[in-house]
Amino acid sequence: MKTMFAAFAFTIAVSFGAYFVLSEMGFSSAEVQSAPSVRLD
């Protein structure tokens, strides 16, 4: 059962990691869908 819980913890960690990596790379919907002239912050 330890392996199962470790896999679930890994899944949650990778999900947060994916969110931050993709956001940092400029893959957020707002950045992808707006032109350079749009101020997002």
């Binding site: 059962m1 392996t3 896999a7 679930f8 899944t11 999900s15 869908q33 707006s34 032109a35």
Partner: protein, 392 residues
Amino acid sequence: MNLQVVGACLIALLTFAVTPAYSQDEGQRASTGGAQTLEDILARQKGLKVDESFRRDNLGNPENAQPISGNLGSLGGVSNSDIYRGIRYSETDVKVSNNGPAAEILVQDGGMEWLLTRQGGIQAYAGYGIGGIILALVIFYFARGRMTIDGGPSGQTIERFKAFERFGHWCLAGSFIMLACTGLLLLFGRSVIIPIFGHEANSAIATFSIWVHNNIAWVFMAALVAIFVMWVAHNIPNKLDLEWFAKGGGIVGHGHPSAKKFNGGQKLIFWMTIVLGASVSMSGLSLLFPFELPMFAKTFGIINSMTGMGLPTELLPHEEMQLAHLWHAIVAITMIIAIIAHIYIGSVGMEGAFDAMGNGQVDLEWARQHHDLWVEEEEAKGAPIRQAGDLR
């Protein structure tokens, strides 16, 4: 004689049947000056296909423009109606300050078809499919009971799956369950959650669901690749699988059909997971990166060349996304239905089955009954046999 009478009647009927179509195309159209007719409107209301070329191609002609000083001269030979028809059928060269080709499509009426399919057929498939498999399994459980180990457990165990195999399985399983739950919450948000819990609750649930869905998907895709690499060699179909299916996996008749590491049913689940998992991942990537990964027009072209079908090969960016969305849901629901059966047989449906993915150790007698050839291979390799409860 009788045949002649019947033939004459048929010809007469066909003549009456064809006449309205002829008058719609030629006479009626002329009577409206080439514009829409009552027949067009009625046909559209009945959901029949209407030839839209009379509107699609009627976009004005700049060569017929009035002089700039004349009446309507500044329109350049294109009336407001002509411009609107151009926008309506995406024939006008639109300039926008937004990013991407999708922003240049101002009107896309295929969206209605997508919405109705999603709220109609897709929801019905999900509801009846998932509800049906759960009901069938409950009936099966009470009719057949739990599949037990003949003669009871032996008290000795053998390692069925190593830690890295179980880790890969649970990454795939955990991410899939979360993807399934959040996907269903998104699918049924408008029709179920809003009427019961209200808009605010649905907004919070949908925001949470799409975040989880978008980000946990990476684990699913990575684990799918890992599972394929780990187990593909054990899942090549062979003659044993036919015998396994002929005996219904042991349900038909007495005794247990022979199997190696994976039996016929497990191989079916494996290949279903790989093939449908790859398909749902592809459409999911298309949805994760909107308008960047269109794949349906090209796929339809390949299908057309192979089968001679007439699927559309020129799709608007929105149509690509709508098809990806529908296909994603259809494949995912099919997987959910199959995986519910997999979860049943791996937990409450069969005594001793969960241990294989729980701690990796299965009862030796269980293994001999369900995977006899695999046990022989493991024993020949000198695999350790432990006493039950000894997890050293």
